[in-house]
């Protein structure tokens, strides 16, 4: 994990990269749910309590994948807004330099309308940027809350696994470990992304 960057461009790209990794982990989680369903089916009545849990694992994977995709999309839009913002900021900075360098030019006021237009675009972009950060922040919080269920799911999975008999117990405990491990990794990515968002909020 890299140090928190001071460049908001990089922050946005890092969020997108982290959530991309979260999507891959969630896809593995979905595979874990399929394996768990197969094991539970073979275990028959002894793992009857485990079967509904596989649906919950599936749901958790689905939510994580769809939410990660949404966050990725938000990050990509935010990245575009950031690029537009950099361009607008850059143009204004250059215009201000021209106002100093060419202050005695008889035509310097011919730049006024363009500067005003750029400043108006900059204000619109700043508003859009704040709005997109709020949306990103909300979505990350929502996904983080959903992942709290993973701990409960893992605990319940272990309880049910202990009743499935020694033949299947190990495989089912492994499922519980996978759920907990995957959720833990995704949470790490979300936490890092939330730190990036808090940096972005300062701009």
């Amino acid at each position: 994990m890299s140090e928190a960057s001071t460049n908001y461009f990089v922050c946005v790209a890092e969020i997108a990269a982290k959530l991309d990794q979260a999507t891959h982990i969630a896809q593995q989680l979905s595979l874990t749910a399929s394996n768990a369903r197969a094991v539970a089916l073979r275990a028959g009545e002894r793992a009857a309590g485990f079967r509904p849990l596989t649906d919950f694992i599936d749901r958790l994977a689905e939510i994580t994948i769809s939410s990660s995709k949404k966050i990725n999309l938000l990050a990509s839009r935010l990245s575009q807004t950031s690029a537009d913002k950099v361009r607008a900021d850059d143009a204004i900075e250059h215009f201000h330099a021209v106002y100093i360098k060419a202050k005695n030019s008889p035509y310097i006021s011919s730049l006024d309308s363009q500067l005003m237009r750029c400043e108006s675009v900059q204000e619109d972009l700043n508003r859009k940027y704040r709005r997109q950060i709020d949306q990103l922040s909300d979505e990350l919080a929502m996904l983080s809350n959903e992942l709290r269920n993973a701990v409960i799911l893992a605990t319940l999975s272990r309880v049910e696994a202990s009743q499935a008999g020694s033949e299947y117990q190990e495989a089912l405990i492994n499922v519980a470990d996978n759920v907990e491990g995957a959720a833990g990794k995704i949470k790490e990515h979300i936490k890092y992304s939330q730190q990036m968002v808090s940096i972005l909020e300062e701009y």
Binding site: R87, A88, D90, A91, H94, F95, A97, V98, K101, A102, N104, S105, P106, Y107, I108, S110, L111, Q114, R117, C118
Partner: protein
């Protein structure tokens, strides 16, 4: 950034901008040119992003921003047109004339407002009020899609990289002793220009033009007899070489 008047006949003016003493040391010094007519202006090879503030400051001393209605980029190189994204903010209703070959590449510099007028391979003309400017093909000199600008009234040829020399910002504006100048431009032409055939074709076409001044994008301007001297020298020069005698 220095400004130098090259021509003025009452109907239009040619100015050269260059020798920017404030430019970062590692970037090549460039010459920019502008033709100002009654209601319009064409800014040629406006330069790199690093020069934008200095260029706009120099230009705005001569002409109001809304009068710069046309831009020209001889080819796609960053020292020619990487400032486009900023001109796009400064001149939202201008037109950029540039080789058709490079349109989808040049747009990478950022172009949302400026209109791209693609110059066909055979070249075309632009009428600025009463002045006609011809976009003369100069393909492979050095870029594969490349044009010069010729003004038959002013007898000026803006020759882009042809005639260019890599020099310091203290260099004089005009070539004084042609023979002395050869060393400053020989490697540039041999290394950057890939085709003897394209070069000789250009020399033959340009010999037919009436030229008082040949204005490259780097280095010094050729004036009077030095234009012919350059054409003779360039025609005899073998190009497309990594270094002397390697091919």
């Amino acid at each position: 950034m220095k400004t130098h008047k090259l021509f003025d006949n009452g109907s239009h003016t040619w100015l050269m901008f260059g020798r920017d003493e404030e430019k970062p040391e590692q970037i090549i010094d460039t010459n920019q040119y502008i033709v100002i007519t009654k209601n319009n202006a064409l800014l040629m090879d406006p330069g790199g992003i690093e020069l934008f503030s200095a260029m706009l400051s120099a230009v705005i001393k001569q002409v109001p921003a809304n009068k710069i209605t046309h831009l020209f980029a001889s080819h796609q190189d960053p020292d020619i047109i990487s400032s486009l994204g900023l001109w796009d903010q400064a001149l939202p209703s201008a037109t950029l004339h540039s080789p058709w070959l490079w349109e989808s590449f040049i747009r990478h510099f950022g172009m949302h407002n400026i209109h791209y007028a693609a110059i066909p391979d055979e070249g075309n003309s632009l009428k600025l009020d009463s002045v006609t400017l011809d976009f003369i093909p100069a393909h492979y000199l050095h870029s594969s899609g490349n044009f010069n600008v010729y003004d038959s009234k002013a007898k000026i040829l803006m020759s882009g990289d042809i005639g260019a020399a890599l020099e310091t910002v203290e260099a004089p504006l005009f070539v004084e002793d042609f023979d002395d100048h050869i060393d400053k431009m020989k490697m540039f032409h041999q290394r950057w220009m890939p085709s003897n055939k394209a070069k000789n074709d250009w020399v033959q076409r340009v010999r037919k033009l009436d030229i008082d001044m040949m204005c490259p994008q780097h280095g010094r301007i050729f004036k009077g007899d030095n234009v012919k001297r350059f054409l003779d020298w360039f025609e005899a020069l073998e190009v497309g070489l990594i270094n002397k005698g390697s091919n």
